[in-house]
């Protein structure tokens, strides 16, 4: 199909992967050319990450072979991959949380003996150079723990850059980034391509794929469906190839009855993080909380839910002042919180899917004190059906599910609690287009049932499509409260971008 004038950098032939007895990839042939940016697209669980991990030596293929520059290679481990010049930026950043950013950046790069002196000054300088290149301001001497996910992701990207790889695979790198960071990342990706390197880019955002990539390969159910130049495919083509059926368009249900105030927050302050946050969410209302990554939205949510309580200010539920210092109290009051950082705050990686789903409803699960397996199984099966979670078995460890399917399981967990107030922090991150539409209608339905919903999202179209009202935060402060009728991309962005001194000058 393609005019292969250039010899491919990587030729994968007949790649298959079987986990236990489940075929996750079947007979995938793929050529990656030098100097191209190649997108991998597909639904949640289609096998994109698995294919990427095979190239990067994390998994061994069950069948098939890989050739690098025409020579067959065995990528037996990530270290071997690194030696061959292949780097994978994982979907969930996995770094060394207690080492500094600089140390994380140069791990594995030092080739001299075990006992040679660590060149701290040099390391810091090199780390700073890389961060400048990416245009991010991170103190490289800080430990990784405590960085936002976006910053962690940038460090991972910088690490890939530092390694001088010929093939860099980015698995959903943009999900936690701000638009500006995405632009920086794209600029760097293009520069790398122009140097003749190959980039594999995995994303669920079609517009990003269009903006960045030269060719796309579409996976469905572990099969490679098509590879083509991006220009040859329309969005509709891509979605049809990915899903095999048309996607429902989400329609905002107007006129959902909006009732009394369910959640009211007044003067919430946590010094250094956010200050004087006041807003309310009514029953049946979907209130968006927009802003740039790092604006403090997650911290506000965590404060309301009692994970890290605020220093001052009040929270009221259904008109009653409450003091929430622990999530268990929040849950008892009918709050639910789907956290942004799934790997850290959401899943129990090695425990079964059903256990992950049922964890927040102990009373339903064990009415007489003893866990009822049948009840749990029913909860799990129900969730699998309603949210079309793709899995082999409910007793499988949740860590074996694809990223998007893990997210669905976490949402299922909170829906079981039948919450009156639902706080969703980037709920559709890593979710494919088809399911996203389903998610939106679920959120709409939840509101229609009279629940109050606070939706934190960095995706403007999502906020605008779903919300009755959009709040915007910038640098720890609430900067706007925009009703649906006046909510536009520009209005939200204007409030989201930090304005130094100018506002103070104007206000004075």
């Amino acid at each position: 199909m393609t005019d292969t004038a250039v010899a491919p950098l990587i030729s994968a032939r007949g790649i298959g992967k079987t986990f236990a007895t489940v075929d996750v990839l079947r007979d995938v042939d793929l050529d990656l050319l030098p100097g191209e940016i190649h997108a991998l697209l597909g639904e949640n669980g289609a096998g994109k990450s698995t294919f990427a991990k095979i190239l990067a030596g994390v998994h061994r293929p069950t069948r098939g072979s890989i050739a690098l520059n025409g020579k067959p290679v065995e990528v037996t481990s990530p270290v071997v991959a690194q030696k061959l010049g292949i780097t994978l930026i994982h979907q969930e950043p996995i770094s060394f949380p207690d080492l500094s950013v600089a140390e994380n950046l140069v791990i594995g790069a030092a080739e001299d003996g075990w006992f040679s002196r660590v060149p701290w000054a040099e390391m810091t300088r090199e780390a700073n150079r890389l961060m400048d290149l990416l245009g991010v301001r991170i103190d490289v001497t800080r430990p990784m723990r405590g960085l936002s996910i976006a910053d962690q992701q940038m460090v991972e990207i910088a690490r890939a850059l530092a390694s001088n790889s010929r093939l860099i695979i980015m698995d959903e790198p943009t999900a936690p980034l701000t638009p500006r960071e995405v632009e920086t990342l794209f600029a760097i990706a293009r520069k790398l391509r122009d140097e003749g390197r190959t980039i594999v880019f995995i994303s669920h955002r079609l517009e990003e794929v269009r903006a960045l990539c030269d060719r796309v390969t579409i996976f469905r159910d572990g099969n490679k469906i098509a590879t083509d130049t991006i220009g040859n495919l329309s969005d509709a083509d891509i979605i049809r190839l990915m899903i095999g059926r048309p996607v429902k368009e989400y329609m905002h249900k107007t006129g959902a009855t909006i009732g009394e105030v369910a959640l009211e927050v007044e003067g919430l302050t946590l010094p250094g993080v956010f200050s004087d946050i006041s807003f309310s969410v009514r029953k049946g209302e979907i209130v968006g909380l927009g802003g740039l990554v790092g604006a403090g939205r997650t911290d506000v949510a965590k404060a309301i839910f009692g994970v890290t309580p605020a220093a001052s200010g009040t929270v009221s539920i259904n008109g009653k002042r409450v003091s929430i210092t622990d999530p268990s109290q929040a849950i008892a009051l009918g709050l639910a919180f789907v956290p942004e950082d799934r790997a850290v705050a959401g899943i129990f990686r090695t425990l079964s899917v059903e256990q992950n789903i049922s964890v927040a409803v102990p009373k339903q699960l064990a009415p007489g004190g003893f866990i009822r397996r049948a009840v749990e199984r029913a909860m799990g099966e129900d969730a699998v059906r309603k949210l079309s979670i793709r899995l082999a078995s409910l007793r499988q460890p949740i860590g074996e599910l694809s990223g998007g399917n893990q997210q669905k399981a976490i949402l299922a967990r909170w829906l079981l609690t039948d919450p009156g107030v639902l706080i969703l922090d980037e709920p559709t991150r890593g979710i494919d287009i088809g399911v996203k539409a389903e998610f939106y209608s679920i959120i709409g339905e939840l509101a229609a049932q009279g629940r109050a919903i606070l939706l934190i999202s960095s995706e403007l179209p999502e906020l605008l499509a779903l919300c009755d009202r959009v709040l915007v935060m910038s640098e720890g402060r609430l900067t706007a409260d925009i009703p649906r009728s006046r909510a536009t991309q520009e209005a939200v962005m204007r409030a989201a971008v930090p304005r130094r001194s100018t506002t103070e000058g104007a206000a004075a």
Partner: protein, 330 residues
Amino acid sequence: MSTTKTAPAQADSSPVRPRWQTLLIRPETMTFMLLVVGVFGGSVLSPFFLDLSYILRSFTLYSELAIVALVLTMVIIAGEIDLSPAANMALSACIFAWAQASGVPIPLAIVIGLLSGLAMGALNAFLVIGLQLPSIIVTIGTLTLFRGLAQVLAGDKSIRVPEWFIGVDKIMLAGIPLPVVLFIVLAIGLGIVLGGTIFGRNIYQIGTNEVAARHAGIRSARIKSSLFLLVGLVASVAGIMTASRLGSVRYDIAAGGELQMVLMAMLGGTYIFGGRGTILGTFLAAWLLVIVSTGMIVANVLPAVQLVVLGGLLIVAIIATNLIYSRTQR
């Protein structure tokens, strides 16, 4: 619970790993097989090993440690460790013996002993959960502290207990010594709690991912504190039982017992990083350890060499469970 059914509405899902395979790679299975090998190996050394009452009598010597190891298993699954219970046994036994020696009636002395054990557990809980200090360091500290206090209290002498109080291990229930009965009953009880209740499940969840557990509304501080308290209480029960078995109390009873307790948990497949393990595993491992230790005594192995073997066994157990778990974790 029976067979792994596939999820509904999944056209393309195929069955997971067959059940016998998952069973085979469980660490408890390994423990069980070692146990069988141990009994056969022992019977070559001495025909006594095929005599159940001989094994039961040998087990009695380790029953106090084994009882504490059951609770310790839960602490390790919750992602913490407690190295102080052997010293706690000594201190609570000394406090009990000292109290009754200075005229306090025995029942009251027992209560005092148990309360002191509980207080020691509370101290650990306060340091680990209240002050957020790492449990391995905290309990090395309290281990030294408790043992030191026991020595201060009892000196180098042994404190005798009255004649009638001696000999829990001689009381038989259906031919089984009382301490062993207690061990079996506690194992069944804790096994049910750990495997069948929300409390037990929360222990696994905390040990797997404490941040996620908190987000899901699990009160990890409360649960972990109660585990440290429980270890403290059970250790003092074990200490007083030891006093009754030995007939006198010295500051050095159960010396080095923390090694045996941790070894029982590890040999039973409890994961040192938390989140995995079972009471059944520790139950089997306790018997295994008794057989190995008794076997070495029968075979006249020098005490120093016995220690070397136990230490080696601990390391092998940790490596083996790590391997098994990392294989199924990917």
